[in-house]
């Protein structure tokens, strides 16, 4: 051993100086290795067929929705033609068309606001903060809730029209609206009274969490006044099977 000579002290100092980086090094290697490990054997084995299944179901859904839209317009056409036959039929048809428009089954255009919501693209977020710098399904439901509160007439998220049965469904980090897989950036088109909508979004008591994460973690969130907006009709199933009018 070196003993307590000046040379020995220098050696010890060097060893100590190396100790910390060595420990950190070990830690990092482990973290790196575990990150690789997370993508386990199961992921490797099953992901490819599962991904295929998901994308073929999504394609199938697009085809089914197109068929549904076609059938809806055929039936509407028949009804409209028949409605010319009697006064009662005409009145019924007018009420149906009015309800279809309010239900979100027809295209709607007008002035309003557009909102973008996106994962942070700038932050070099630390591990724990990733969660705060990305957008979640609950952010979308909060933004939609604020839009209705602000008097919105029609809302679409990445072209998916929000109707009475719409929900924002989240699995892992994937978000689904009306059964369609969506990914950020989310572009919301909100048609309605611009000033009330803007006032709602500007209200500091609204969407506090989103605004804080935008300011601190770089979450993308922006509300802009916009004119001549257009939202397409809802293309999914109406799904009224269990509820009967009384």
């Amino acid at each position: 051993m070196t003993g307590d000579t000046p040379r020995g002290r220098t050696r010890r100092a060097h060893s100590l100086a190396l100790l910390l980086p060595a420990v950190l090094f070990g830690l990092l290697v482990t973290v790196q290795w575990r990150t690789q490990q997370d993508r386990s054997q199961l992921t490797v084995r099953y992901n490819a067929p599962l991904l295929d299944a998901a994308s073929s179901l999504q394609n199938e859904q697009n085809g089914l929705k197109a068929q549904l839209a076609d059938l809806r317009s055929q039936l509407d056409e028949i009804q409209r033609n028949a409605a010319t036959q009697s006064g009662a039929a005409r009145e019924l048809q007018a009420r149906i068309e009015d309800l279809q428009a309010r239900a979100g089954l027809t295209e709607r255009s007008g002035d309003g606001v557009t909102i973008t919501l996106d994962d942070s693209r700038t932050a070099s977020a630390a591990l724990k903060e990733i969660d705060k710098s990305i957008c979640h399904a609950t952010d979308l439901t909060d933004i939609i809730n604020a839009a209705w509160r602000g008097g919105a007439d029609a809302i679409a998220v990445n072209d998916e029209r929000i109707v009475g049965t719409s929900s924002v469904y989240c699995v892992g980090s994937t978000i689904m609206v009306n059964g369609t897989l969506l990914s950020p950036p989310f572009a919301l088109v909100v048609i309605g009274p611009q000033n009330t909508l803007l006032a709602t979004y500007d209200d500091p008591s609204q969407l506090r969490d989103i605004k804080l994460r935008r300011d601190v973690y770089g979450l993308g969130f922006r509300v802009t006044r916009a004119s001549g907006l257009k939202v397409g009709p809802y293309r999914g199933a109406l799904n009224v099977r269990y509820a009967t009018p009384r």
């Binding site: 990150t35 199961l42 994308s55 048809q93 070099s124 109707v163 994937t174 689904m176 199933a237 509820a243």
Partner: protein, 218 residues
């Protein structure tokens, strides 16, 4: 100049460490949402969700085909298509919350502290599970309903106060909705962890009556 082996080692280790640290941060930094990165468990859940959706659309296609044929036949035989028009009107009125409705479903009871965002999340989860009509206490939830809290801590649906304990009732496939609410890691389980001291219960009902929306949509 005298070379110090310790210093060389230190430099080498520090350099390597730096490279690794950057790699690690980068790996976290570029957060990707690609489906490829989902776990098999998440993908399986997604696939089940997609399949369920597709089935609902397929059922409606079958139903609409039948109705189109029936309406066509009725018109060509001179009977007119009032029956179809009435059916369509009834369906749309349920969809819009304009008519009071009955049907099987579930009731979620909440007794204790709760808030408006949680209520909004619960409604979203019920819609996910296929709820066709929903009410909070006696307030029907419509397509454009919004949830808020008063300064006094009461919850509001479309600006109308609803006081706890709350009963959130939903008409739809009661088994599906019940499982969706109560499954391990599901929304009720999450609520129980967040709102400790609040009692949550979910029950299936064979017949639920829900009122119409207080004010019809514009």
């Amino acid at each position: 100049m005298r070379t110090n082996p310790g210093a060389i080692w230190l430099t080498a280790v520090a350099l390597f460490l730096g490279v690794l640290a950057v790699t690690q941060v980068r790996a976290q930094d570029v957060y990707s949402r690609s489906l490829q990165l989902e776990t098999p468990a998440s993908l399986t859940t997604l696939i089940a969700g997609l399949a369920e959706r597709n089935n609902a659309v397929r059922d409606e296609i079958v139903d609409l085909r039948l109705r189109t044929t029936t309406a066509r036949d009725a018109i060509s035989s001179g009977k007119g298509s009032l029956a179809e028009a009435e059916r369509q009107l009834a369906q749309l009125r349920v969809f819009e919350g304009e008519s009071a409705v009955s049907g099987p479903g579930i009731t979620v009871r909440i007794d204790g502290s709760f808030d408006d965002r949680a209520l909004s999340d619960l409604i979203n989860e019920l819609r996910n599970a296929g709820a066709e009509a929903i009410a909070v206490n006696t307030e029907r939830v419509g397509p454009r309903s919004w949830f808020a809290a008063t300064t006094g801590g009461a919850l509001t649906v479309d600006g109308t106060a609803v006081n706890g304990p709350w009963a959130v009732r939903a008409i739809g496939a009661s088994d599906v909705m019940h499982v969706a609410m109560t499954r391990t890691g599901g929304i009720i389980g999450q609520f129980e962890l967040i709102y400790r001291g609040t009692r949550f219960s979910v029950s299936k009902d064979t017949a639920i009556d829900l009122p119409a929306l207080r004010t019809a949509l514009r």
